[in-house]
């Protein structure tokens, strides 16, 4: 994906760009499980409980 990006991600940045991002996206994968399909995008804080 990094190589296919336009413009491509410079090679000297890849070690700092890719591993932390992969870790972050893996963490998101774990959170997505169990999200009800009808859940909408966050749209600001709701007042009160």
């Amino acid at each position: 994906l990094a190589a296919a990006a336009e413009p491509p991600v410079p090679e000297d940045l890849l070690p700092d760009v890719v591993p932390p991002l992969e870790k972050l996206e893996a963490a998101l994968r774990g959170l997505e499980v169990g999200t009800p399909p009808e859940t909408l995008l966050w749209n600001g804080p709701e007042d009160g409980a």
Binding site: A5, P7, V9, E25, T35, P36, G44, D47, G48, A49
Partner: protein, 451 residues
């Protein structure tokens, strides 16, 4: 000297706006070569405005408690006719043709703009170690960062250069520098203070806010600019009697430097001693908030700034890394992060059935040294940016108001910050609690070496 004290001196004719402005400009000229808190100082405009504000007072026109009060605006906040760099080389010569709403509101309230304060490049970082405008230095120790991204605003207030400054906060950018510099910083409820004219960074995470030397000074300014303001300013004897305060027993008290934890525990004891009902509470997954917040921020910032990647040589390496990461996040992940955010917000909001506010440390550590890349918590090493934002970012994700104020000092003499968090729109509760803490801590008068 507080804003209220300055106001009293002005109205008693013990000083004038002109004298106040001259004194402020003298202090800035003296300290800025050491602190680098300001990118731009507008001496001539400030002097002209001071004369006009004095003339108004002489004619019986009093704009209220901020009349004549010197103020500095973070340099990502539009000021008509005054360059607004965003801490970026790309915008180094950008001059807005209108004032941000927060600036025009504070102008109408009588503040006198002294200049524009430095920040982390694009407000996208927490050190304020800016490759284009130089490192901003912490008034308590010039070898240490002031925090960021509103580092110049915090350093200017901590260094006693101005009593009030504006800031913006996308992942902690008001509260982190407030914590590191020993000043008060308020990130209000999402959208409670207008963002019009504040350079956007993270569209669903950005907040405009305030930094000042005391909680009451923040409250005074907030009461004049907040949407649906109640006008509340804490009384001289604010108390915590009957307030239901939650103290997290997970996440927000994990991986905290021992000195910070000691001060935090002392603050919790102070709350109980002041009559609050203090309850330990297990919160939902705080780390999950940071995961979705980082995904959202990376995507949103790159959506705005990736267009400048054809000018790489004019952008700092740390920013380039973040912009590249944001470019690589699929839309599916961004959207699902925002959906998970909805679920988390629903879970977290349940705590307000039983609580009025939460207390947490503002940052897990005191200000790191300039150039330090990681911080150790026991045997665990953490990236400085991740650590500094760990306790603040969750409340950008939730959009809840959060107040940072000093609650102690480390053995090295660096300030330690407390964070008080409330439900949406309940800034008044935070300000009441903050004022009571401030009175009890009794550390407001302590001055840094470089003030």
């Amino acid at each position: 000297v507080t804003i209220q004290e300055i106001g009293a001196a002005l109205r008693a004719r013990k000083t004038s706006v002109r004298e106040l402005t001259e004194e402020t400009l003298r202090r800035v000229a003296d300290a800025n070569p050491r602190l680098n808190a300001f990118i731009t100082v507008i001496d001539a405009a400030a002097r002209a405005r001071a004369m006009a504000l004095d003339d108004e007072l002489a004619r019986g026109i009093d704009r209220g408690p901020l009349h004549g009060i010197p103020i500095a605006h973070k340099d990502n906040i539009f000021t008509r006719g005054v360059r607004t760099t965003g801490g970026s080389k790309i915008f180094a010569d950008f001059v807005p043709d209108y004032d941000a709403t927060i600036v025009s509101q504070l102008n109408d309230a009588g503040t006198n703009v002294i200049g524009k304060t430095g920040l982390h490049e694009f407000a996208y970082g927490i050190t304020s170690n800016n490759p284009h405008f130089g490192a901003i230095r912490n008034p308590w120790d010039p070898e240490r960062v002031p925090g960021g991204s509103s580092g110049g605003s915090a350093a200017a207030v901590a260094g006693r250069l101005v009593p009030l400054a504006t800031g913006s906060d996308t992942g902690g950018s008001i509260r982190i520098p407030a914590s590191f510099c020993g000043v008060v910083g308020l990130k209000p409820t999402y959208e409670r203070i207008s963002r019009i004219g504040v350079m956007p960074l993270g569209l669903t995470l950005d907040h405009a806010g305030l930094l000042a030397g005391t909680v009451r000074d923040v409250a005074l300014a907030f009461s004049l600019i907040a949407k649906h303001s109640s006008g509340y300013v804490p009384s001289p004897r604010a108390d915590l009697r009957g307030m239901r305060i939650g103290v997290p027993e997970n996440f927000f008290v994990e991986r905290i430097a021992p000195e910070v934890m000691l001060s935090f525990r002392a603050a919790v004891q102070t709350a109980a001693a002041l009559g609050a009902h203090v309850t330990e509470i297990k919160l939902p997954d705080g780390e999950a908030l940071n995961v979705v917040g980082r995904i959202a921020q990376l995507s949103e910032v790159s959506a705005l700034l990736a267009r400048y990647l054809d000018r790489r040589s004019e952008i700092g390496r740390d920013i380039l890394v973040l912009l590249e990461q944001g470019r690589l996040i699929p839309a599916i992940d961004y959207l699902n992060a925002q959906r998970v955010r909805t679920v988390l917000a629903r879970d977290f909001s349940k705590i307000w059935k039983h609580l009025d506010c939460l207390m947490t440390p503002a940052t897990p550590m005191t200000a790191p040294k300039i150039g330090e890349m990681s911080v150790a918590f026991g045997s665990f090493n953490e990236d400085v940016r991740t650590a500094a934002t760990r306790l603040t970012r969750p409340f950008n994700v939730l959009g809840w108001p959060a107040l940072a104020l000093p609650c102690g000092f480390s053995n090295a003499g660096m300030p330690i910050g407390l964070q008080v968090v409330g439900p949406p729109q309940q800034e008044d509760t935070l300000l009441q609690a903050g004022a009571a803490f401030e009175d009890a801590f009794g550390i407001v008068g302590r001055r840094p070496a470089l003030s």
